[in-house]
Amino acid sequence: MKDMGEMLLRREGFSEIVIGNTALVRAMVESGVGVVTSYPGSPTPEIAAAIASMPAAQRPFYFEFSVNEKVATEVAFGSALNGHLAVVFFKSVGLNVAADTFVQLPLMEITGGMVVVLGDDPGAHSSQNEQDNRHFAHLAYLPVFEPATAAETYAMFKEAAALARAKKTAVIMRLTTHVCHAKEKVAFAPYAAAARDNTPLFDVKNGPYVPIAAAVFPMKRRALQKLEQFREYADDSPFNMVFSHNNKKRGVVTCGTAYLALADALAFAGDRPDVLKLGLSHPLPRRLLSDFLQKHEEILVLEELDNILENEIRALAQSRGLASAITGKQDLEDWIGEYTPERVAAKLDKVWPDLLAPRPEPTRARPAVPPRPPQLCPGCGHRSAFHAVKNALAVGDITVADIGCHSLGFLPPYEMGQVLLCMGASTAAASGLALANRERKVVAFLGDSTFFHAGIPGIINAVFNRHNLTLIIMENGTTAMTGHQEHPATGKNFNGPTTAIPLRRVLESLGIANIRELDAYSQKKLTAMVKEALAEEGFKVIIARHPCMLKHTREQKRQGTWKGIPVRVNQEKCRRIHECVSVFACPSYQIDEGGRVHVQEDLCIGDGSCLQTCPAAAIETGNPGGEK
């Protein structure tokens, strides 16, 4: 088996098939990065997985998962003031959490240099929105590299790191989901490991570092001057490329994966347009763009999500009196979703109907296939919790979800968590729903990693302002959705053992007296507990605890200690109530056309959480060879 850690640290150059996230880590190693921080979130966790593959003793930089993106950005910033080249990475919406810190970065002379790696998520594959973080780059006067492939991710990071260090600033690498996860063979350069100088170099003379009142203006001026230097760089950057097909009439300006989709769509084109691919999407190369506009009568600006390039290019054309006809977004749908090859082909059909040869259309109507949304795993403690909580609620009671695996409770049949805003928002949103509301009980859900990330302020506010609601903390002992990272209550961090901060102790220290806790598998007790809590006034907390069974069973199977006992349905006892398959709804239960229920052996982990749910007591622990 190939060893990723060995590969990432290899001194000689080599070629290997990698995803963008892995290529990024090799670029960090080669660039002499000193400190890397993050909070887990798709599409970026595999960056940390690649870092973890390097043995700790040989890892050439420090890494931590911080408690949230804001803190991660601050730790990276601080280390860069001491002269370390620093990297912070997180998902798209993580930048909202980090924003207060992030927008200050351009004001600072970041002596070590800093790269902010963003995992944007066009298509909202694993996020609550598909926000276009290029807006934030404009807000913060920071340059943005936008790779399209793993090879570009590797090359652009090295460039971004060198520029960040040279200009003593932060540079953004904007990856997207299908850059982070796309695989290809990448040629890597040799790695010359250098001894690290850990002298703490922070010096106020490099500042000013305190932006208060009038002190802000020279700092802002310097930020704008640096951005102008990047604008000059943009015109000569090797990452802004023109692909000429000697087309005098038509040109396309594009960036990121939209370029790749365009290249595929143009396989169907006869007379191909020229293409300007922007690797640096902010600030724009004005000379290069003016030249490209001048040479083409018709310009299509092809950009995924928002019309940021389009607006800037229109402004440039107007200010320079360039007469090219510019087309960008044409209707609202152009703003929504990923620019896949078929989407881009359809867009080209609309803009230039004569350009592409017709593609084969479906020859007949496609038969229906039931959708398959993600769901809670077999044995998941959240399923037991939702099943029990639902039984305690009255029609009309309001449930508020937060981010994490438990967000999936909104799906039928549980329909627990009717509103979902963002990380840590459930308690405060539920507080608002409870205001002046004496009729409908309000319940908020919150996961344990999210509790530490952004959940605590809403809880303090509920205590402080005496809000009347029930908070159910779904404690599974990990950051499950993003791949089982440690959090402050687990007693471990990325680098080893640490002081555990038990969730209950935090709640108690906030003066919350009304706390109940139990194992989420105790469904009847949990139902009773929720009913009790709902009947009481004030802010009540229930900790419904069960380890993440995906993580737990994996670990125990590895150690050979897993003692699952798969269940079966006793067909003689089964009264076809279907509580197991349609109400408790563990995916292990399957139903045939006649209404007969059986257990899919490949799925059942033998956790037994379902045994208590059958009114006919027809679920039995299987005996070898017995009917499943």
């Binding site: 063979k185 398959r372 399957q590």
Partner: protein, 194 residues
């Protein structure tokens, strides 16, 4: 001359080992001397949702994503997903290889929608001139080996131009080790040599 192009859309359910299957195909294609790229589903969908991988063989593939309706082959590890993959990505006249496991989607279990049958897949394949290869092995030691059974069937029937069993074995050697590698190689060889 028309450039060689072979797009494969791989589909299944989170937890079935789609990632290993597609990574093996990509590495095997590389061992076969072909230019290849692709992408897997990560994140939320891995929790029991539909997961897909794109594998694009050929020098002219730019995006890691197969264009809808343009795949030469769909490889599926589950019956419902086989039909979904065909609907979305497979060309008429292409090839469907699927492992006939059934993991009922939510609406089937909630009695809101009917399950997909093997017969309906066969009928759709006939109507669209699609070569159908159904794989099912009784007595697999571990359901996570279903992906290797599918890889072996692809090699046994020479379904991917230029891809030989040795390329797949080399890829598996890159990705697995110890007893897991041995068990998977044993199953692979048993099917390829059948």
């Amino acid at each position: 001359m028309k450039q060689e192009k072979f797009d494969i859309f791989v589909i299944g359910v989170g937890g079935q080992g789609i990632g290993l299957l597609s990574e093996t195909l990509i590495r095997a294609a590389d061992y076969a001397g072909k230019r290849v790229r692709g992408v897997d589903t990560h994140g939320l969908a891995q929790r029991g949702g539909m997961v897909a991988s794109h594998v694009r063989i050929g020098a002219n593939a730019h995006s890691p994503l197969v264009m809808a309706g343009q795949a030469e082959m769909v490889v599926a590890l589950e019956r419902h997903e086989a039909l979904r993959g065909m609907n979305l990505f497979l060309k008429d006249g292409g090839t469907l290889v699927y492992y006939d496991a059934v993991w009922q989607p939510l609406n089937v279990r909630l009695k809101k929608e009917a399950a997909v049958t093997a017969a309906s897949i066969s009928a759709e394949c006939r109507a669209r001139d699609i070569r159908e290869v159904r794989v099912f092995q009784t007595g697999l030691a571990d359901p996570r080996m279903q992906n290797v059974a599918v890889l072996a069937e692809i090699c046994r029937l020479n379904l991917i131009p230029g891809l030989e069993a040795g390329h797949v074995e080399a890829a598996l050697n890159d990705l697995l080790a110890g007893p897991v590698l041995e068990k998977n190689l044993a199953l692979f060889r048993k099917i390829v040599q059948a």
